[in-house]
Each structure stands twice: as C-alpha cells, then as structure tokens.
Amino acid sequence: MQFRLEKRREPSQFMLYATPVAAVALTMIVGAIIFSLIGYDGVGAVREIFLTPLTNAYKWQDLGVKAAPLIIIGVGLSIAYRANVWNIGAEGQYVIGGLAGTGIALLTYGMTGWWILPLMVLAGMLGGMAYAAIPALLRTRLNVNEILTSLMLTYASVQLIYYLIRAPWKDPMGMGFPQTRLFSEAARLPFIIPGTIVHLGVPIAVVVGLVAWFIMTRSVFGYRMRVVGAAPHAARYGGFSEHKTIWLALLVSGALAGLAGVLEVAGPFQRMVPGFPTNYGFTAIIVAFLGRLNPLGVIVAGVVLAITFVGGEVAQTTIGLPNAATGIFQAMMLFFLLAGDILIKYRVRRVVPQPSQGAA
C-alpha cells in the first residue's frame, strides 16, 4: 500500500478552513509530547497555554489587549501578502509608529484637547508608512528584495528607541531610567470597560478587520492585491502596474503596523520604554497566515495567538515553563499550518496496486 498526492480540480474550501484548526490541534498534541519528553508536565502546559486563558474570565481582558495589535498588524500583512509583497518588517513599522505617536505626545505634553489623540494616531500611521516606504522605494527603483530591507530596518528602529529615550526624550524626572515621561491624560487611550485594562484599541482592531475584509472582497483595490499575488502577468494584462501595487501593499501594511504601535504606546504603555518592541510585528506574520490572509480570519487568529501569549505567562508561573515555550508553540502552529496547506490543492489517495486479472 502506498499513498500519493493527487491534484484537486478545484481548491478544497473545506480544507481551507480545516487546516488552521488542524494546525492548532496538532500543535497542542505535539507540544504536549515534546514538553513531556523534556521533563515538564506536557499536558498541563498545553492546558495552561491554550485553555486557561479561555476558562478564566479574568484573563479575557488580557486576551483583548494582546489580540488588538496582532489583529491590526496582521490585517495589514494579510493585504500585502495577498499581493506577494513580503513585508517582514512590521515590527519596525510598529516601533516607528509608536515613536511618532510618542513625539506628538511629548510635544503636546501638559496640553489638553480632543485633537491630541487623533493627531497621535495620524502621526503613528504616517510614521509606519514612511518606514515601509523605504523598502518600497528600494524594491521598485533598485529591485532590492523587500524581505531583507524591511527585516533589517526593524533592528535600526529599535536602536532609534534606545537613542531617543536615553537622550532627547528622556524623562527629566525619571532618575536616569531610559524612558520618556508618562503621557499626559489627553495623550492616553481611554479605557472602554471601566475597571479593566480594555482600551479603545480593542474595538478599533475589530473595525479595522471588518473594513479591510470589505475592501479586500468588494473593491478594485482588493481585487488588485489578489490578482497581483495570484498571477502577476495577468495583473499587468488587466492594467495593474506591479510597482504601484508594491507601493500600495507596503504603505497600507506599514500604516496599520504604525497604527498598532501608536495604540500600544498610548494604551498599555502610556510612555516609551526600552521594552516597547514586543515582537507583535513578527507574531502578526503567523496571525496573517493562520487567518488565511483573510481579514476576518485574522481576527480569529489574532485571538488564538493572544491565547498563547497569555497562556504562556500563566504557564510560566504555574508550571515553571520557560518564556521561550510560547515561541515554540507559535512556531509549531505556523509550521503545521504551512505543511497542511498542501491539502487545499491536493488530496491524499491510497494507491492499491491493481491485480492483473483477465476480466475487468
């Protein structure tokens, strides 16, 4: 007996939605085995990471707060990836977005007014866009691969934080700590559920997902992104220039990463600190793929990844699992997902050698 892959006539809709679920399930099973083998309570680790955040109502607010930036960045990446524009540097655009918002918050320090937050948000989006414009320019003018440039710019952005919070933006009352001062009230994101840490960024993330879904399925912009990714030659024939698409993809994903950055700095952080880059920009890559590059899927995937973050913290305290365990679970999820994707276009068939007999 032998198995082999046979191409499907039409891509399987069932598998399109079944493989992400299967990837999560496999991650739980294999994760439990691996952590048992290296001497932890494997089953307990999986329970703490994947289930406790859901069963413990007190953790739900953490889920929302963690999921919001993942969703916002993931939506932007899902749009760019649709067009085969591989923006890997969302983390950098997120950082620059956060810094741009911080800049406005420090400039308006001590002032009041409803316009401060919108201005910060605008600055954050423009910052992310500007930072994503560098790979776009290099790609369209000099044909430099955007994967490398966007990734490397991430490391440059982190150094920029360190410089700014150690010198020009350092909190004068901070006793030498490398951080900015706490933003004034008007520059902080309001909490929408009293008594929790759920801030305005959470509903914004959901709205971003819904709007992006509408644009990607209904508009010429979304069509452009999809057709350029699916068949670049056909896109040119259809009148969509490749360069313009690269620019659009990087600017949109950069703007959304910047938005996530400014919402984070104005929300949970309320000041710029060295620990601001928390790898949301990289984790959002997993979110985008787990969500099938579909903005609605990204909302769900953002919550799933948020579960692993929150659960990872729980497992650190309850089981003593190292922090890196969260990363291992997230990476496994992406691995199983990409591996499972082959089942969308192919089916597994059991090949039984045919008995050679006279009558058929």
Partner: protein, 509 residues
C-alpha cells in the same frame, strides 16, 4: 502477431467527471495510430495512463500480448514507451546534450551519450548540434531534442501529443518523414492531433473519442476530414459564414515604426513594425513561435508602452496608455498564454471578467466592484460561447484549455471592441470550438471592428484573414491580400527569407 498495445475497458473517473469510459482499442507494431477528440474528450488522460502518469480505475493494458501495470513513467520507458509532450521540458540556458543527459534514467558517460545522440540524429535526419544552447534554437529544433530524447530508449511505442502546433509547413514535412521512417522500422506511433488533414496524410488508423467514450476506430484514408470532425464533435460542422465581396471601411488601427526593447535574455523584441488595419478587416500575422509575437502583442495591448504615435486608433495615438487606458478607447487584446496571463486560474470566471471588462462594462462604481454585473456578464459569455463550465463561480483553472479559451475570447468579443488583437486564438482548441471562435471573429469584423490575429497555424490564418504578413526575428514582412500568397511563400518568409533584396542578411531556418 500480438498487438503492440491493447487497451481493454479503460475507465478513469475524476470527481464529477468520467474522463475515460470503457475505452478499448489496439495498436499494431509499426502502425501510426491517431487519437482524435475534442478538448476534454479524454485523450490526455488516456495517454497519461499509458505512460504511467495516472492509473486507470478499471480496465486492462496489454503490452505485446501480456497484461501490464505501468506504475510510473520510468516503468513505461522501461517497457519501451516514449512520449513527446506538447509542452517541452527543456532548460533554455543548457545545451542540447546537457538537456538530454538530465532526462536520462540511467547515468551514461557524456561522451558515450553524445555518440548515441549523433547516431540517432543521423539515422533519422534529426540534424542538431548537441553543443548548442537551447535558447538559440527554434521551436522545431527544440522539438527535435524531445524526439531524440524519446528515441534514445529505443521505443517500441512513441506517443506524440499535438506535435505540429508550433511548426512551419516545412518542419511538419520533416517530422512526418521521421515518423514514417520509425514506423517502417516497427515502432508504433500514437499520434494526438486536431489537424485532420495531417491525420489523413500520416496515420494508418484513427481512434475517435468523445466525452470520454470511444466513438469509432476508422481508417482516416477512407474518411474525409469533415466526416472525422463530425464524429469528433458529434454533430454537423459549421463552415465559417462570411459575406463575399464586402468592402473595408476607414483605417482603424495604424501601427507605425513600432519597436520594443529586449526585455529578457531570451526575449525577441519587435523591430520597426508598421501596418494598418481597416474597419472590417482581419489582419493575420504568421510566423514561427518566438519571433517577436509576444512582444508585438504586449506592445499592442499596452503591457509594453511605446511612442505615443507608434500605435493609433482612428488617428489618436495610444502608445503611452496602459492596457486599461487602451481598453477604454476600444482596443482589447488576448495574449497567447491562457492560464496566468489572459486569465487567473485560481479566480472564478466571474472575477476573471472583472480583469478586463470592468471599465468597458461599468463593473466598478466608486472603487467598488459590482459583482452582480460581473456575474451576469460572465453568464452571458458562458451561454453565448457554449463554455462548458458549472457557472460563473467555477474557477478558470478547472476548465479545460479549449473551454477556457472560448471563455476568454467571448469575454473580449462581447465587449465589442473596435480593435481586437488576439494571439493563437485556437491554440490547442478542438475543431468545434475553433469554428465557433472563428465565426465570432468574422462576425465582429463584419460589425466594423478591425482585428489582428497572430497565429502559428497557417490554415487558420488563410481561412480567417483578409490580409497576411509574416513576422520573423521581430520584423514584419509587407502585408499582402491572403488570396495572393501561397503557402510556400509564407513558409519561406517564416523561415526568414524576406525577398531578394534582404536575402543576404537573412537567417536560414
């Protein structure tokens, strides 16, 4: 004497389709046997099972009288089955010898392999320098590599899948000589083609498939092309209906001194091409593949921009516009490659209509796509052009080549463009569908559009076009009325002989 190959009750089922339904036929040693059928009739599936790429669900394959199972192509070659595919698998940057060496099952020292290749080449008159880079070879020469590769394993059965679609008339004759010689030595040949006159000229017997079922096995020399075509499509064949003695209108499309840049290493640009097409005229561009046809189509469609006045419709220069801008002004185009260029395989037909028809047919309102309009239009294309598809929601990739081509041609023709440029409109399309596409083009011209047909199929061009020109190495010969040029003349022009004055610097075929 047992049959070389005997198929009994071969059945192959795909989800929703019965590709082969109880097919039974046999090929004698030394026989040239034609396999005829429309697109989707199951020819490819059948030969794939013979060559071991797929396995039959039921039925039996006998080889020299003994039942066999062919699990993979390697086993097929071991039995003595060779196959030359319609699409070549050659690395352009490698030499002929390197390409052949890569495809061999057994590792043979390159010197020994070269000696064997030279043997086969001289034996069958397949002349080719083993050390030439594939990129420098014509399509006909590339096909010779594939044939040599198949002959190196001393096949007892050679399967040829649509081998002549890209050859000049002279090259076709050479190929036939090789095949006849092979058959005379006892090698059976299974010859898949749509070109009925070729089958009459070459084949000893023909098996006709329709809808996966065997319709008839006949002697093509006893049949007329028409009678075979009718068996193939299962209905009477329609002739192209055109009004005789119609007159042409004003100059519609004017191309003057159009040149393109060499885009890639192996790209052939067009060089100072000029011609005019009048309203109601069908202008044919003949030529062997790879002589600048792709660049010409891209320059006309707008994928490659040119000087403003190099391309004009009704005197208005369009050279600087992109494809969308040109479509808005009435110029539509259909490139040669269906999947990935003219259509997106992963998209539904409805979404594929948005690709080129969105502006001319008002499918976009304030940046949003009116998917209802796209669906309605797609439904109309499917109905008017008899496209075999489940509906507008089917993906383009799920359609057979001929059906996808009918859809693409329909999508452009129903937009009623004032100028339509098409490349290879019936490439790999069966007789029934080709006739429908030809008729639609003639009707569009009759309604006053100017049409440019770029094709390698001379019979198609001669049947369809009012005026003919030949493209060779990116240069276009002067246009002549179709009735005044002979096949031989066109053949010579295709080979690069542009008349007496240019004969010195011409490149011999």
């Amino acid at each position: 004497m047992p049959y070389r190959l005997e198929l009994t009750g071969i059945t192959k089922r795909f989800p929703g389709v019965l590709a082969n339904d109880n097919v039974t036929f046999a090929v004698k040693p030394g026989e040239i046997h034609a396999l005829l059928g429309e697109n989707g009739a199951g020819k490819s599936t059948l030969v794939k099972m013979i060559y071991g790429i797929m396995q039959p669900d039921a039925g039996e394959i006998r080889w020299d009288g003994a039942p066999v199972v062919v699990p993979n192509p390697k086993a097929a070659r071991k039995l003595g089955i060779g196959m030359v595919f319609q699409h070549f698998s050659l690395f352009e940057a490698l030499t002929v010898l390197e390409n052949i060496a890569l495809g061999m099952d057994a590792k043979i020292p390159s010197r020994e392999l070269e000696a064997r290749i030279r043997d086969v080449m001289t034996q069958y008159g397949l002349l080719l320098d083993p050390h030439r880079t594939v990129a420098t070879l014509s399509v006909g020469e590339r096909q010779r590599i594939e044939i040599v590769r198949a002959l190196l394993v001393d096949p007892k059965l050679l399967i040829m899948d649509e081998p002549t679609s890209v050859l000049t008339p002279q090259e076709v004759e050479q190929l036939f000589d090789v095949l006849r010689k092979l058959a005379a030595e006892g090698c059976s040949i299974l010859y898949i083609s749509h070109k009925l006159y070729e089958i009459k000229a070459l084949c000893d017997s023909a098996t006709i498939l329709r809808g996966g079922k065997l319709v008839d096995t006949c002697d093509p020399k006893q049949e007329t092309s028409r009678s075979m075509a009718e068996k193939m499509i299962g209905a009477g064949l329609k002739d192209i209906v055109r009004l005789e003695g119609r007159s042409f209108g004003q100059n519609k499309l004017a191309v003057s001194h159009l040149s393109t840049q060499k885009a890639g290493h192996f790209d052939v640009p067009v060089d100072d091409v000029s011609f005019t097409v009048r309203a109601g005229e069908i202008f044919g561009v003949a030529g062997v593949a790879g002589n600048g046809q792709n660049a010409l189509l891209d320059a006309l469609s707008g994928e490659i921009r040119s000087d403003k006045d190099a391309i004009a419709i009704d005197g208005h220069g369009l050279g600087l516009l992109d494809t969308t801008g040109r479509r808005k002004r009435g110029l539509c185009a259909v490139p040669e490659e269906r999947n990935g260029h003219a259509a997106v395989g992963d998209f539904s037909l409805s979404d594929n209509s948005v690709l080129t028809a969105r502006d001319r047919l008002g499918m976009v309102v304030m940046g949003l796509i009116n998917s209802g309009a796209a669906r309605t239009y797609t439904g109309k294309v499917i109905a008017d052009f008899a496209v075999k598809a489940l509906g507008p929601a089917s993906t383009a990739g799920s359609l057979s080549g001929g059906n996808l081509q009918k859809y693409i041609m329909g999508r452009e023709i129903l937009q009623k463009p004032s100028v339509l440029v098409v490349s290879q409109p019936t490439w790999g399309v069966d007789a029934g569908a080709a006739a429908a596409i030809h008729q639609a083009l003639v009707d569009l011209a009759a309604a006053g559009s100017a049409i440019v047909v770029i094709s390698q199929d001379l019979d198609e061009l001669r049947a369809l076009c009012d005026t003919l020109a030949v493209i060779n190495m990116g240069r276009l010969s002067p246009a002549r009325p179709t009735k005044e040029v002979s096949v031989e003349e066109i053949g010579l022009l295709m080979g690069g002989v542009h008349g007496a004055t240019e004969a010195q610097d011409a490149i011999p075929a």
